[in-house]
Symmetry: D2
Subunit: 429 residues, 4 copies
């Protein structure tokens, strides 16, 4: 069979849609990856502080997952994703129940509605509307929940919304914690708007939120705010949906991002790192009393990716069976915070953002953040921005990154920031 010259990028220009994006920031062809490192077709290696946008929390090609997957394939395991019972799915469900749900006292059911985060959000919104008989959903400024039509209505980003081609309906936007400045208590604002019979806001089917807004700029909600939002949801008959697609699977230090926040969502969306291996897999956790879809009422071909079930089970058993992994993640998060504080000190108005292994620096402008990331890439570090103005340099490295690589990556970042700081100082003189 034919091989392709893998460093030939003309095929992408010739045939791939202009909608392609990450490849514009990292304009080389990648060939392989392991742990926190990616290797280009030209042989060059890069430290990966993006990790498939948090879809590879355990790093690339974890050897145990790899082995289990190869074994599964070699033994002709079922591949397709229709929701037939398979042994791979049974094993995953059993592990998820035993390792995740039972220890946390959660009786949620798991719905497989397609392997992407957007599928999960779509199903969550449909379900909440069906459960309550209401149509309105409250979501927050800077929230990102996907770009299919139902999910896009809940997404704040104007650039993505502009792609809809239709007015987006069924969602009322409320200010996220801190988004309106320090003086405005956004939970109180939400509560007043829902309580006031002439506010013009329909009683919502659900309130959907991320505990840490990943795409929105690493805005981390406080425990107090989240608890008040949960109370407001309950008081107004709305379901609480936590979109844990980016912040879940250990990214903040616990399996769910909300574990230490004292809340229990009615519906939880999970995707990205759920498979542990970068494979498409998503699920919805739903309180049993709200699990009211009929058979196939929400359906799809790739609902249960069996390859992903195999690696996902290994991920659970390897990393989450005891407390050790979480402790190591928190330790890394502490280190990350310390280093970022030092790095931020090079820039006059830089602010730390985020929580756990989902932190970054708001450098004040998209141009500056982009410059930093470009310099990092040249120096061998894959790193990206987020935020409404792309003003946050965000660290999304594997949460089990080895400390040496972690430090080296942060060194590269510090060097890039330092260079810019120095040249700005010189320019100012």
């Amino acid at each position: 069979m034919t091989t392709v010259k893998t460093d030939d990028k003309t095929i992408f220009e010739r045939r791939e849609s202009a909608a392609r994006s990450y490849c514009r920031s990292f304009p080389i062809v990648f060939e392989s990856a392991s742990g926190a490192m990616m290797k280009g077709a030209d042989g060059r290696e890069y430290i990966d502080f993006l990790a498939g946008c948090s879809s590879l929390n355990y790093g690339h090609n974890d050897p145990d997952m790899k082995k289990a997957l190869v074994d599964y394939i070699t033994s002709d395991g079922v591949t397709h994703g229709l929701d037939m019972h398979t042994s791979a799915k049974a094993a995953f469900l059993e592990a998820f129940e035993r390792i995740v749900l039972e220890p946390r006292g959660m009786d949620h059911r798991m719905m497989f509605m397609g392997p992407t985060g957007a599928n999960a959000v779509e199903a969550a919104l449909k379900l909440a509307r069906k459960v309550t008989g209401r149509t309105n959903v409250v979501s927050f400024t800077n929230g990102f929940h996907g770009v299919t039509l139902g999910a896009l209505a809940a997404t704040g980003n104007g650039y993505h919304r502009g792609g809809a081609g239709l007015p987006l309906t069924g969602v009322t936007r409320m200010p996220f914690e801190g988004s309106m400045g320090k003086d405005i208590d956004t939970a109180d604002f939400l509560n007043r708007m829902l309580a006031e019979p002439s506010s013009g806001i329909e009683p919502p089917a659900a309130i959907i939120l991320e505990t840490v807004q990943g795409e929105g700029g690493l805005n981390a909600a406080s425990r107090e705010w989240l608890r008040r939002i949960e109370q407001i949801a309950r008081a107004h008959g709305a379901l609480l949906i936590v979109d844990d697609i980016q912040a879940g699977c250990g990214r903040t230090g616990s399996f769910f991002s909300f574990e230490e926040m004292g809340i229990t969502p009615d519906i939880i969306t999970m995707a990205k790192s759920l498979s542990g291996f970068g494979l498409p897999l998503a699920t919805l956790l739903v309180r049993p009393e709200y699990d009211i879809f009929g058979p196939a009422e929400h359906n799809g071909t790739f609902r249960g990716n069996n390859h992903a079930f195999v690696t996902a089970r290994v991920a659970l058993e390897k990393y989450w069976a005891d407390e050790g992994f979480q402790e190591s993640v928190r330790e890394r998060a502490g280190f990350l915070g310390t280093r970022l504080r030092e790095i931020a000190a090079h820039l006059p108005d830089a602010r730390l953002k985020g929580r756990g292994m989902m932190q970054g620096i708001d450098v004040g402008s998209g141009a500056l953040a982009s410059d930093i990331c470009s310099r990092c890439f040249k120096a061998g570090l894959i790193i990206e921005t987020s935020g409404a103005h792309d003003e946050v340099v965000k660290i999304l490295c594997p949460i089990n990154i080895d400390k040496g690589t972690f430090a080296r990556g942060l060194d590269i970042l510090e060097e890039a920031v330092g260079e810019i700081s120095r040249s700005a100082s010189i320019a100012a003189e």
Copy 2:
């Protein structure tokens, strides 16, 4: 690591959502599969006439794809799906260009917008609306295009639509060919509705259709009708979108289902069998002049499933590099038609439906079709129904099924139909 007793189905009842569906028709746990055969955890083997709902057109675990995938995994190939350049993606694009697009004179671009068919439909509708500045889309009775909010609006099935929880907007429904009886020329009807300035139908951004409606009951549109719909789309400034998710990848006998129909769609959605191996992968083919999304304007984490690119490339090179495979598919399709005609003869009002390797028998009622499928399953054949009333017994076996297995599967079907026919005759006496 723990293993699960794979024939224990209680985990599914305990933890999987009530939305699960296929497992209700086939209530065993499957463990492995090869070619056209699936094997249960109890060791029993089944002939597969469902093939992952047409997501396994080349059968289960094709050895060449398997080998390539295992090699890729073993060599630490990139797994995540962000749209960075990878050698696996380059090789797939190159093969698709060389084997599919160039020989057919198609200059379409390929957009990766998420790995499911619904993602593809969502992106197609958004794009058509953005290109034209119009909001209305014409879709057809009995069409099935997915269940996320944008796609669901284009889907006809009332049960699925009922799950939306919101009025579905932006779509005008028109009758598919033949759906209103023989006297009504549905293309002419559509044309009049669009041409009449007081019809109340807004000029559409797109007309979206399946050439053979898979879920809708294997309704196969004629060449003449499709050409007229294309002309109507052009005349009214609408893009023509062919949803080839189920009917594409060889199912009807050619790579695209529309190849012999004399039409060239502006946008084509592909998913299901695109990876060739059952893995989640979808793409949108878009005429270059309509490829107007900005970078990441439509985005997603699992846009480019690299594992799926690996198997998809092998599928193209193995099956589509020359005409041989298509000829063998058409030969099987001829055999299928002949056998189905014989089988249908057992039932008084049965009608043949479909085209190519996407044929079935309308047995007149959902209860009867369901009875037939249940008997088949007991006899070792996985087979399902489709149609608005689930009244069509549909054959979606691998299109490269070996002839012995094919015949055995059809024998089981004939026996089931025969039994029912005989008991009905006895009852009638």
Copy 3:
């Protein structure tokens, strides 16, 4: 107080919106009117075949209504329209019950929801949706129901719909009788679309229709078709709404346009000639079981125009207390049909349209129809076009027009048509 020179039209150009319309066809300033005659500020008189677009079925300034109104005003009768009880309203309700409802065995309630037809349609649609808990409404091609957002969604005309500035939702468009040519049974089409569970048409809250489409081109539905539509509505749990705004109040020969059609709508909208005097007044007749709005749930300032109640009561008592008036209207309608047939004979492909005193000639093109109306106006006849292409010359004169004036008006029309016919013949030679 200042007077204005009433033949000075510059004030309209200077200050009235470009949305003004009828004044463009009849570019003079009118000062007074009586019976079927209008008089310009220049003293010239015109026969009125438009009658306020059917809002003056009994002609201008009926002396009995005039007297009653002047008496009411002189005696300081309540003028404002809030829905307080007034003696004028009581008298109107009592007359409507006695003269209209009871003799027809109708137990409908009367809702006053604002004095315009669009208000009535808006309230009818809201009510039907509330009653059924459904959102979809079926309306027909070429239907006209007003231009406020809810009513506009039910209106077919593309030019009016284009003014919405928003996608219009909540309405499914179906073909009106005869609109798709002779071969298509549009009632059967509607029934199939509603009966088919995968048609993609939601079960409707209501079917709304005009028995004769006034603005849509004087399309008169048959008794059989209307009865089938009523049966279809009942069978599918939808309310039947007859919009009798233009065709009601005697225009077709009976008080309601549907009386001889063998149907009893659940909701009826009335406006235009309801006051009998051209004053704004509208009402909704609602079966008591569907009269479920709470107090002021639909409200408005001018719900009950007391001046209009005064004249409306006189109209009922004068014209509808016995059969005599209806007979005279039918006689005029017969005369009109005969004359129009003669007039149409001058034009090769002209077709008669309409029913009762709501007839016209489809002359085949908007340009020709416009030319005819312009010539008529120059000769002293106010007459307008209707239809999707403005291709129908429509006669909407007072239904009690005196026969001499009626004949003179029709003579002018015949002369205009004859002139055109002759010049076309000469041009053809």
Copy 4:
């Protein structure tokens, strides 16, 4: 002709819709009215502090308007409302230009889109969307703009919104000045939400507001807030629409409610007291550059109520030709404020609301306000509540009410409040 026993209310129960409302608060049949007095069929007289809900700012049956109207009717003036040129309309336009527009330097055009406020709001929103090509409109909590579908989307009241039967779309709700407590600067909040690219709020076509929210509880916006909203509208490319239906025509002390606020709206809606006589009449004032509807693109039968033009012209010439009337209104407003302050002093937490002749007392609960109004009615005073909880006793008497009647009405109110205050004191002891 038959007469009806005008004190017989059974006809209303028998035949009028349950949606009727004001008659429930004032359960008698009114027969005539003059100035600030209404008289029942039983001969009893009432002071009118409701004035047709501000549609009779100049009182009932003003003798000059009455005379002009009777003369017009007697001389067979044109009655119907199609937008043909009439001398009555010309005279009104000329007077409006001369007395209202020119002295204020306003070059707005006047659109007649139907005689109700809701028609005006519907047309305003359609026009703003057409002008800008945007769909979103910003409206405010507690705003009331009518109950037809487009207007209802902009209305805040949950009870009215509940009647829609459809999700209401196209409007984003923002907090009105003061509605979120003293700490929240609602103009700043609006500005941030519009300025933030990821807020999820689409750029608006318009911002619509009432300077004093009549139905919403007499919330009077400050000059500073209004000026900032105007600046925000300009900065974000949105049109500013002032809905002056209730607050206009002198109610606040100047012809427009915004005159002393330092703003110039792009579009102004007027209705209610525009005719001066309680007759249905509405208009839209539109800056000429936004007057872009085509002929009849927004149309309707009763666009130009000629009877209302006659009385409206008299109202302008009689009351607005010089400054005298405004001064007398302001004097009354001062008196009203003084008296209301005294009356409010009887109740512990009562607060004064409103501005000009549109003031009231927030008594803290709907039950209390309702009790006050009932007692007043028994004592001969027609007065109503407003606010989200009906907690405001509102004074909307004629703005030219004679001082004796005014004082007597306020005495009745004070007596009612005093009674309640005393009985509460006794109960508390």
